[in-house]
């Protein structure tokens, strides 16, 4: 029997039982749609986090005291501003080095107050990280050198304290000390769960005096290019180790952060896809079940086809194609539904979703495979039917 003919017969058979075919397909449709949506959400989340990490700036190296691993509490820093100068010397460009000492403090303007992260920084921050101002100016070198009480507010801090009014030029207090607002950051959103619009940048010298410390929490270096990151990292850690014997320092790159996060999210996406895969499997069992019913119902037809010369293989192929047609058609519809649902989720909820071609290819491939796997047994049963018995069936 020609293949095209077998397809025609399979399509006819499915059309003969439209409601049943649709209900059988529903299992596969739901399974495939679930795989597509969940993989899209997993992938979207991963992409969003990658964007956030990359959005910090490019070729970044972050130096922290202590052993750094994701989730561990940071050690108390023993670095100070002289270490920053030493690192700047290694890098050879002060503009490529940023620094921070951070603390949570109450920020107030008039009778409104809010709790914000105070970052003591130097004027190079916008050159190292991606930060842009909505209004005013950023800190200058002389602000840092002379410990001026000036502040640049994060978008949310400015909005909380001043609403729609222009914050630039206004007075605020940080932990009770008066500061003048010289700039407001553009809105940035979250990075790795940290609200970056809830920051206030002040000169590090001012911050250290405010906090009664001379420590520096972390140093960030923007390498000139990707190739130099590792070399730079080794030289900086060696230098800091020499300056602070007995203290360990570590440097993490964006790639390392992405690597760890990517692994976690990869596993998560895999687990989600596997759970959705189970529903696809259940759909496959449904297909198998219905195909067995179909073989039984059409025993007479099978007998007749055999009598006029159909070989066992011809009958087997006919029923196998029917099962594959059911699941691939269901797969296509499920893909469409899954894409639609993913787009709706991405548009209407904060959960990101990204459709990837491989998840579509996988879902389609699996649904076709399900058709073959779960169609084989009914097809073999049909092919092996004894024509004498089949013809006698009424």
């Amino acid at each position: 029997m020609r293949f095209a003919e077998a397809w025609r017969v399979a399509i006819d058979a499915l059309r003969a039982n439209r409601l049943r075919s649709t209900l059988t397909m529903l299992g596969v449709i739901i399974g495939v749609a679930a795989v597509v949506v969940l993989v899209a959400i997993g992938t979207g989340t991963k992409q969003q986090i990658e964007q956030q990490v990359e959005g910090l700036g490019s070729n970044l190296l972050i130096v922290l005291p202590g052993q750094v691993s994701l989730g561990s509490a940071p050690s108390v820093s023993r670095m100070d501003l002289s270490d920053v100068d030493a690192v700047s010397k290694i890098v050879g460009d002060r503009n490529r080095v940023a620094v921070t000492v951070a603390s949570g403090e109450t920020v107030a303007a008039g009778n409104v107050d809010t709790f914000a992260t105070i970052n003591g920084v130097i004027e190079t921050t916008p050159q190292v990280f991606v930060r842009s101002l909505a209004r005013g100016t950023y800190l200058s070198r002389s602000d840092v050198d002379t410990s001026r009480r000036v502040a640049v507010l994060g978008w949310r801090v400015a909005k909380t304290l001043f609403g729609e009014r222009d914050a630039v030029g206004q007075q605020i207090t940080i932990a009770g000390v008066r500061f003048r607002v010289i700039g407001v950051f553009a809105q940035l959103g979250q990075s790795l769960g940290v609200d970056r619009d809830n920051e206030v940048h002040v000169p590090i010298t001012t911050a250290q005096r405010l906090l009664g410390t001379n420590r520096v929490d972390g140093i960030a270096i923007k390498a000139p290019n990707r190739e130099e990151i590792n070399d730079l990292s080794a030289r900086i850690i060696a230098e800091l180790g020499r300056r602070h014997p007995g203290t360990e320092f570590s440097a993490v790159t964006q790639e390392q952060i992405l690597g760890v996060l990517g692994d976690i999210l990869g596993v998560l996406t895999g687990v989600l896809a596997a759970i959705a895969g189970i529903s696809l499997l259940v759909g496959g069992v449904g297909v198998s079940n219905i195909m067995l019913v179909s073989v039984r119902e059409r025993t007479k037809e099978i007998g007749l086809r055999k009598a006029v010369g159909a070989r066992p293989r011809d009958i087997g192929v006919q029923f196998l194609l029917e099962a594959v047609l059911l699941t691939t058609l269901g797969g296509f519809i499920g893909m469409g539904l899954g894409i639609g649902a993913a787009l709706v989720v991405a548009a209407l909820s904060p959960v990101p979703a990204a459709i990837t071609w491989w998840s579509l290819a996988l879902a389609f491939g699996v649904s076709a495979a399900v058709g073959i796997i779960f169609g084989v047994v009914p097809a073999q049963r049909a092919g092996r039917l004894d024509p004498v018995v089949a013809l006698r069936t009424e």
């Binding site: 029997m1 007749l304 004894d386 004498v388």
Partner: protein, 226 residues
């Protein structure tokens, strides 16, 4: 010249719940090309079993059975299917037409399993329907045809492959007398014109008497015609 059908000491036993039941106890006869034979006997006489064997739907337990000159004992299900397709045409009591399929596609069905192109299949099937007087009903479905017409579609399907033997199992059983006569007349005409051997299985003496030769079955054996 080889016989269209040749049976020599053919037996067929069935195993039912571990008990061996003989359905045929050693049957020998030949049907020559163009012959017209009736196999007659009461139900349980083994005539249906014999028909299944003669049609290549089943193989004998012992003995030799040749269909179109080929011994079926060594044939596997694939070969048997090919042999049926090329050598045998079946006509059943209950027509066995595919319900959702037009007359012309029903007739063309055996040609599907020859891998023939659709246009050629349709041409041959239409010509065959024309021959059985249904040239005006090509695209009707079985439920739009009378019983007599349905059986004529089935006859056209049996003959479209140009077989050596036409096996008709109670071809008039589901028809009224007039339509039954017409179907028999058509089968006999085709037997005469195309030289296809005609074997009619029946329990009806009136039908059997029209054949050139009668094979009378009783309890799995051929008994002399009374």
């Amino acid at each position: 010249m080889t016989a269209a059908l040749l049976a020599r000491d053919v037996t067929r036993e069935y195993a039912l719940d571990g008990v061996t039941v003989p359905a045929l106890r050693g049957v020998s006869f030949t049907v020559d090309a163009g012959d017209y034979v009736a196999i007659i006997g009461p139900s349980g006489s083994g005539k249906s079993t014999l028909m299944h064997l003669l049609g290549g739907l089943d193989r004998p337990t012992t003995g030799t059975l040749e269909i179109g000159g080929r011994d079926v004992s060594g044939l596997d299900p694939q070969d048997l299917a090919k042999l049926r397709n090329e050598t045998i045409g079946f006509v059943f009591q209950s027509f066995h037409l595919l319900a959702r399929t037009s007359a012309v596609d029903n007739v063309a069905l055996p040609l599907v399993y020859r891998g023939m192109r659709a246009s050629e299949r349709r041409r041959r099937a239409a010509a065959m329907l024309e021959r059985v007087g249904l040239g005006h009903r090509l695209d009707h479905r079985p439920n739009q045809l009378s019983g007599g017409e349905q059986q004529r579609v089935a006859i056209a399907r049996a003959l479209v492959t140009d077989p050596q033997v036409l096996l008709a199992d109670e071809p008039t059983g589901n028809l009224d007398t007039r339509n039954g006569q017409a179907v028999l007349a058509l089968l006999e005409a085709l037997n005469g014109e195309q030289g296809v051997a005609l074997v009619v299985v029946t329990h009806d003496n009136e039908v059997a008497d029209r054949a050139h030769r009668k094979i009378v079955m009783r309890d799995g054996e051929i008994v002399p015609a009374s």
